[in-house]
């Protein structure tokens, strides 16, 4: 590459940088909004014009995690002084923390919904990526009769909008007793992600020269050993990228979760908006729930960022 740039090219470069900055800001604005709201006092959450400068507080998170009820009368100064710091925040908001008969603080439903989301998303991701990798390896390395048709069939399961099959699925699930179960959602998300996983992994495995396995075969390894010792490490990038996509899909899924679950196995996405309806919505609590909900995906993506960058550009570079 020539190091010399003409003034025109320089101007274009700057324009491109400005454009990228603007686009980034537009994309980050909603995230800023959620994060900011989750740290606002309740009375500043819905002001017009929006409040930008405020003293951040964590009361929304306290409220998010605890079961509360409206205060009928103000707490006595003794009660107020005896309460721990976080309970005072609830008092300040005109509410009190609900305690059971043994005076134990009652948790809100959010932590269990969050845990449901984690269990279901992680399990279905592991299953979808695992089965997808094996299937893709089969399609990539062996002559399969009707390979094209089979692959198209696998992809076609993704072609209907999920909402279309939601009601039939619900009826079937009710008959077999899978509604509001973890296993039910895990099966659903695994099936939904499998087609994606097979196609993506096939692309990655096609890129791994089959000579690597052949070398392992003549070196005295069985095909299964060659798969685990050679193909899997080589496909790590693809597995990481596929896992991130599957995880995000399962983590964010709303329609099925809303229809199939209501208590025991309910995930966070249908739970968070359900809080809007109970009384006057406290937007700060909803924002806090949303903000916490964003963290696992962000963390997972950050963890695999190096693999992802290579994964995104796969096929673009010839080996």
């Amino acid at each position: 590459m020539a190091a010399v740039q003409t003034s025109g090219e320089r101007a274009l470069n700057r324009l491109a940088i400005v454009a990228v900055l603007v686009i980034t800001m537009i994309f980050l604005a909603p995230i800023y909004w959620i994060v900011a709201t989750s740290f606002k006092p309740r009375n500043l959450a819905t002001t017009i014009p929006p409040t930008v400068v405020f003293t951040p507080e964590i009361s929304p998170f306290v409220k998010l995690m605890t079961k509360r009820s409206q205060l009928r009368e103000q707490p006595t100064p003794e009660e107020y002084a005896a309460a721990p710091w976080w309970e005072r925040m609830v008092f300040d908001g005109g509410e009190k923390v609900v305690r059971d008969g043994k005076d134990q603080v009652q948790w809100s439903a959010y932590p269990s919904r969050f845990l449901n989301s984690l269990i279901i998303a992680v399990t279905s991701t592991v299953l979808a990526v695992g089965m997808g990798t094996f299937t893709a390896y089969g399609f990539s390395r062996f002559k399969v009769k009707g390979e094209g048709d089979l692959l198209f069939f696998i992809l076609s399961t993704r072609m209907l909008p999920p909402v279309v099959v939601a009601i039939p699925m619900f009826l079937m699930y009710r008959i077999v007793g899978l509604t509001d179960t973890h296993i039910g959602l895990i099966i659903l998300y695994t099936a939904f992600n499998l087609s994606f996983s097979v196609w993506l992994m096939k692309g990655f495995i096609d890129e791994i020269p089959k000579e690597y396995e052949e070398a392992a075969l003549v070196d005295g390894y069985t095909r299964m050993q060659a798969f685990f010792k050679i193909v899997l490490p080589e496909a790590a990038t693809g597995i990481a990228a596929t896992a991130v996509f599957c995880f995000i899909t399962a983590w964010n899924e709303y329609a099925f979760a809303l229809m199939m679950t209501n208590r025991r196995a309910q995930t966070a996405p249908p739970f968070i908006p359900s809080q809007v309806g109970s009384g006057l919505p406290d937007w700060t609590v909803i924002a806090a729930g949303t903000f916490l909900f964003l963290l696992p995906v962000a963390f997972f993506t950050f963890l695999l960022r190096n693999h992802l960058l290579r994964g995104m550009s796969f096929g673009a570079i010839r080996k």
Binding site: E214, L217, V218, D219, Q225, E234
Partner: protein, 367 residues
Amino acid sequence: MTQIELRGVQKWFGAVQVIKDLNLTIADNEFIVLLGQSGCGKTTTLRAVAGLETIDEGDILIDGKPVQHLKASDRDIAMVFQSFSLYPHMSVYENIAFPLRATRISKAQVDAAVREIARVLRITDLLAKKPSALSGGDMQRVAIGRALVRRPKAMLMDEPIGALDAKLREEMRAEIKRLHVKQGSTTIYVTHDQIEAMSLADRIVIMHEGVLQQVGTPEEVYRQPANLFVAQFVGSPVMNVADTTVSEQAGQVSVAVGGAEKGFAFPGELLARLNGHAGGGLKLGIRPEGVLVAREATDGFLPVEAQIIEPLGSFDIVDLKVGGEVLRARTKSGFVARAGEKVFARVDPAQAHFFDTASGKSLGVAL
């Protein structure tokens, strides 16, 4: 002690037959080179011996035992691939140790074996590196090391130096030869490069369109090619091949090329040796060094025109127009000064080959 035998091996890819009734016996410690153009079936043959391809008919025997139904991992054969196929996620040490880890030998033994082979191949200082940090020649050494480390029954090499540049190729050729002499193992080596084949092989197996054309020492395939294909495939520059007619006038046998009026003088016994083929459908094959050139009219030499001169340093290749054909002659460098010059040429009968045009087979004439 490993002997490999192929008996009536046939292989189809769909409707295409890539190996046609191949019979071949490879002796213990022999270095065999399968030579041919791409698509001639040589790599498929090698992969069939390795167990990476199944065969449709015939037997592959190693030390007398049929192995065609055994998996690659059970044949105790090592292979070096054209792309080297070093495992990118493993260090050089791990790459070489990999075949040993498939067996049940101790860590100490693995370590000793890896270090020994690294010493022989002079790659000890590379053991900690990843394959991506190696040069082409070093990758090749590591690939050979990985193949040799468990002392396999036989060594298969699929164009192992084809991906290297010319200079390195020459170096590695010498190194492979050195290793073979030192380590001694039955080796099948696939290449399309006849120079590689000539310099490495104990015997060369020439294949064309799935059919074995000739098996012989480098000397044999060069001096006595079995057919036109072998004649033109082996040797550089390529052997001249021209339609020819043999006639006898006043007891003088002459061999005319390219419809020229006058022919080159040949000894009288040629007619007897041709055994009735003199009439037509005959091709003369003569290597450039068998075309003798003189600057002045000499007895037995015919006047010809030099069309093109290719100076190749130690010698020149001169294209001579003889009748409607061009014969390429090898001369001392600068012997023919410029193109267009009139010179005189003769074909050395001792180096001439005659082939049947229809079958392409050599008539085995040796004068």
